[in-house]
Amino acid sequence: KKETFMEAFEGINEAFKVIFHELSDGSGTLILDDDEDPFAGGLTLKVQPKEKTLRRLEAMSGGEKSLTALAFVFAIQKYRPAPFYAFDEIDMFLDGINADKVAQRVKKSAKNVQFIVVSLRKPMIEAAERTIGVTMQQNNITNITGMELR
């Protein structure tokens, strides 16, 4: 039980370090409260955005936190690849530059696997191959308005 946990933890941690650096230029790592007995404690995300002091996740800004959480999700997906991904407004808290970094990462990964991403933000919509438009008609009915190709 501990073996399989530690194997998953190390794999996800390796991926997290690489991905966090790619998204934010800084360095990050996952830390177990209790190395000896992981099930006795929790898991903390320790990150240091570029040229900043190491801080607890709580003290960071809204955008920095969400970029950190995204790197954690992407690391889990890298450790346990799936045939398709569906994301719902993952870029909501990000400024233009960070939203574009995430959009480019999705675009790069979409060469080998399917991505379906709900988004209101321009960087994501412009990086995609196509956009499916959705509207609400009378009587509470959703209608697909068509598809726009890039």
Binding site: L43, A69, R80, A82, A128, T131, T135, I144
Partner: protein, 167 residues
């Protein structure tokens, strides 16, 4: 393996039959607030049995059936998802896999049926097939609206539990 089409019938705000085509690369879905974008993602989780009714913003499964003030509420909702399985990520003969789920409301409650390539199966069968292709409820391949915020606000114990389930 990838999704080629999703068909919604009476599921949440899909009050009339809607078929949405998908392709093997990067697609975005966009539209105004409340237009039904997240309902599409909810539909994927529903048909693949990847979530509970609570995560689909419903108190009970029958809340997922389309309802409106203007018309009589249907007694069923159905979502059907088609996969291109030519790489046989799901180890069955056919190059196409069609998974469908229907919930039917009766006077005394409701029934929930799963179909795999036309055959009636159980939720566990669906999970077994999907796990072979790397699709599991805890794999985070579907990230719902608000999941990112939930990860930043959860306790470090809850975060560790995410790894427990993956291991």
């Amino acid at each position: 393996m990838y999704i080629t089409e999703i068909e919604f019938l009476n599921f949440k705000s899909f009050g009339k039959k809607v078929k949405i085509p998908f392709f093997d690369d990067f697609t975005t879905i966009s539209g105004p607030n409340g237009s039904g974008k997240s309902n599409i993602v909810d539909g994927i989780l529903f048909v693949l049995g990847l979530s509970s009714s609570r995560t689909l913003r419903a108190e009970k499964l029958t809340d997922l059936i389309y309802s409106s003030d203007e018309s009589k509420k249907p007694d069923f909702a159905q979502v059907t998802i088609r996969f291109n399985n030519s790489d046989h990520a799901i180890p069955v003969d056919s190059d196409e896999v069609v998974i469908s789920r229907k919930i039917k409301e009766t006077d005394s409650g409701y029934y929930s049926y799963f179909y795999f390539n036309g055959k009636s199966v159980s939720l566990t069968d669906i999970h077994t097939h999907l796990a072979k292709a790397g699709v599991t409820p805890e794999g985070y391949n579907v990230v719902m609206q608000g999941d990112v915020t939930r990860i930043t606000t959860m306790t470090s114990l809850q975060r560790r539990k995410i790894i427990d389930e993956i291991a």
